[in-house]
Symmetry: C2
Subunit: 370 residues, 2 copies
DNA sequence: CTGAGTTGCTGAAAGGTTTCAAGAAGATTG
DNA sequence: CAATCTTCTTGAAACCTTTCAGCAACTCAG
């Protein structure tokens, strides 16, 4: 993907470690010494395999003295349980995965925090994977996670109609869709009403008297981008404005860099044809747009009002504090994880579609006089 | 950890999915139907187990016609390779893990991008784990990853002297320390010279005529916090100033919220005693500090100059564009992953300590006239 | 002292894959 | 046509745990 936006300083010093230990010379003690297994522990402790396993899995069933012996043996041998073998035999994994759309977007890392919180409360661990808005990577990760037989997958998908996605639950891997509503009877989903969010944003701008408004977002394969735009259109319709008043500026991704690019395009338009306001599909775009426009001499909000989406922590700290549509980030993640846990443990689980309501947070980028 | 900084909108709509499919009533078709394994595929394709395995692992060795039969059988049975079994037998994992200090910090997600880039180039996948500056979570994840027998671990540790960390390589799990220099002969490490970084920041402020300077960072167990402070002290010493001129404001974590707290404390000081400049251990702190100080009426940089660290993308887009110390983020991750790959594949691997050089990026937050 | 009930431990089977020595069939050479 | 190579395929062993029926030893009531 894109290199860092600014050139990286690359002067490096490298030093081989001196290895004071090295005595005999070139020979390396590689060879991955056979890690001690339950068998070795059992031998060392003078008990059977089954007993070692009991110490591991049902400590209450083994006598304190035996347990102590076994634990001592484990410690002295540096025993590390082989999770592959455990999982193969026991058939269950203690791991949840969250496949994120963009790990660089603070919105998703906040969602991830909620996920982790709920998972930890249930004694599970979370692995994060980053599809980075790349469908191939998403597919690769889905395959990998299914092969790993993780307990379940949380995903903010690029394309929620992917066949891969739909096949997973039938094959035994529960999937919960996060930040997208979906109702195919195969998944639970937890979302925020993006159409309403788009509507809120545009209604706010219309109320401030803006007439020609840009919608900055893309690619149009991403559900969030589509819904927010549709919400925007709906707000225009309700206000009796023609749909052409929403000027679409399509971006290649939902990133700050793309936002800057859009800013460049927007600022390049003659003042008469330029929209007086921009609604961005997320805050990263909005921040990039804002930065570029300001540096090209546009005043925000006088020349261009800007509304973002997600209300990430950085939105309030921007050059011009950003009006944004807030979503309950951690709650989204927590709820999704709880649904997943229910699905994988409760035989009477029914798929649910939970929808939260977004909220407009008005700041200087639209109402400068504030 | 901290809840979202602002209350989350929590009105939710929940709807059970209608399950048009359900015919017989209450019975759920749970039961995790026995997933087809190599055995079933072999039977369906009329070949032996070994042949199926060959199709999977050495396709070139099996005749095209047989291969086609096997692949067809796989597809029709929905075969999904059981990675636990594969790994148990083959003894090797195709997974790398990056245990991050704070997934919410864009600096680390940029590092993660570099890691992933290098891993993908080598045909491996990356799982991200977030210790979130919590030592217990870090320990849990290390145990988990060792039990999973991942191919290797990249970590930005909370405490690089942890015994757990040091034991891993001897037991067969290579570990590369990222963003910390370490020279214990057990790990490779890839770092940026934080002492120099601190020095650059303070030298810059001294040059601008600042005399009383705050150092905002913490907790003091984190290596980066210590080194950057030490660099700051060194710069003062070199300039012949007494060390008391560096006023330490210790924070509980390296977050925006903590930065705001520090801003509150700083702005509360009487103007005569208040430092005229602040150097923050990272950009999140700096952004929080900036935001709070501005909202409390301090002018930046006139009343308070601010220098951050990391030069994350948001630094340039801040209320007052932030002077910051830039580090080669993706390069850091890429290099670390490459060292890890070398360690796990090259029998002649020697541990290395790679150090990059940081670079000061001056913006408005220190030199307003710019 | 007998019989039933507890408690703690054992040993073998099972889980799904990969590996590898060895065999079968077909192609090539002299 | 025999001998030698190649090319494919096979079947069983091995990887490390967990599970579970069963056994031994002990306790306790009658």
């Amino acid at each position: 993907m894109a290199a860092d936006s600014a050139p990286e300083s690359a002067s490096a010093t490298s030093s081989r470690s001196s290895r004071k230990t090295g005595a005999t010379g070139g020979r390396r003690r590689k060879a991955k010494q056979h890690a001690a297994g339950v068998k070795a522990v059992a031998a060392a402790a003078g008990v059977s395999l089954g007993t070692v396993s009991n110490v591991l899995n049902r400590p209450e069933v083994v006598s304190p003295v035996t347990r102590a012996k076994v634990e001592a043996a484990m410690a002295s041998l540096g025993f590390v349980r082989n999770e592959s073998a455990r999982q193969l035999r026991a058939g269950s994994s203690r791991i949840l995965a969250y496949l994120m759309l963009d790990a660089g977007n603070p919105f998703f890392t906040d969602v991830a925090k909620g996920v982790e919180e709920a998972a930890r409360a249930a004694g599970l661990s979370v692995f994060l994977c980053n599809s980075n808005e790349d469908a191939d990577r998403e597919a690769d990760y889905l395959d990998l996670l299914e092969q790993q037989r993780v307990q379940g997958i949380l995903i903010t998908p690029i394309d929620q109609n992917s066949s891969r996605l739909r096949k997973l639950p039938a094959r035994g891997t529960p999937v919960v869709v996060v930040d997208r509503a979906i109702d195919d009877g195969e998944h639970c989903s937890v979302a925020v009403n993006d159409i309403l969010g788009g509507e809120l944003a545009i209604a706010h701008l219309l109320e401030l008297g803006h007439d020609r408004i840009a919608y900055v977002g893309g690619p149009n394969t991403i559900g969030q981008v589509i819904d927010r735009r549709d919400g925007a259109r709906r707000a225009l319709r309700k206000a009796g404005k023609p749909p052409e008043n929403l000027i679409e500026l399509t971006t290649g991704a939902l990133t700050v860099a793309e936002g800057r690019g859009a800013g460049q395009r927007l600022a390049g338009l003659p003042a008469t044809r330029r929209p007086t306001a921009a609604f961005c599909a997320n805050d990263l775009l909005a921040l990039g747009l804002l930065q570029q426009c300001v540096s090209l001499g546009l005043r925000v909000p006088e020349d261009l009002a800007i509304v973002g989406y997600d209300d990430i922590e950085f939105a309030a700290a921007a050059a011009v504090p950003l009006t944004s549509v807030r979503q309950p980030r951690q709650l989204l993640g927590r709820t999704a994880a709880e649904l997943l846990l229910d699905e994988s443990s409760n035989p009477d689980h029914e798929h649910q579609r939970v929808t939260f309501t977004p909220e407009l947070v008005v700041r200087t980028s639209t109402r400068g006089t504030l």
